[in-house]
């Protein structure tokens, strides 16, 4: 019996996840996505009270949800 995750020859989705989680695993014909995380570079920071209010002191990480008019077409 093989230990660990084996992708080639006898690919069986149920080997990849704990059976009690029941996560649907897609077959090997589906390519995995490529993820990336750019390295943060220290620039300006918000002063402490502004940072607390915004939820981060780093302007590059501040992405508030802004309510915009929903565009139906396009």
């Amino acid at each position: 019996m093989t230990k660990g995750y084996v992708y080639d020859y006898d690919y069986r989705p149920e080997m990849l996840v704990a059976p009690h989680y029941k996560i649907p695993v897609m077959g090997p014909e589906f390519k995995l996505a490529k993820a990336y995380v750019p390295y943060q570079v220290f620039q300006k920071v918000y002063e402490p009270m502004k940072g607390l209010m915004k939820g981060t002191i780093f302007p590059e990480l501040c992405r508030p949800y802004v309510k915009t008019k929903h565009r139906m077409e396009e």
Partner: protein
């Protein structure tokens, strides 16, 4: 509970600088050689210490690590959730 405007302002300043220090902590964990961030962290540590010292001297203990007069000051003060943060301050 109303703890007074000046005390609340100081408390909020402490909360803000504590938050900035957590942010810098996380940044420095992944950028341990960043001198600018380190300088800011060090500057904030000093400010934070001073603010907390002043708060504990003027008002009340912030943690249980507190040399108190009798009676024990910790239980005399409002719990964090009893403070009305809306009444003023920054």
């Amino acid at each position: 509970m109303d703890i007074g405007r000046e005390r609340l302002e100081l408390l909020k300043e402490i909360m803000a600088i504590d938050f900035s220090l957590v942010e810098l902590n996380l940044y420095l964990d992944t950028h341990p050689l960043d001198q600018r961030a380190q300088r800011l962290q060090n500057e904030y540590v000093t400010i934070c210490k001073d603010l907390k010292e002043k708060y504990e001297e003027d008002y009340a203990p912030l943690t249980h690590v507190y040399a108190s007069e009798c009676p024990w000051g910790w239980i005399e003060e409002p719990w964090p959730w009893e403070i009305n943060y809306e009444m003023g301050g920054i």
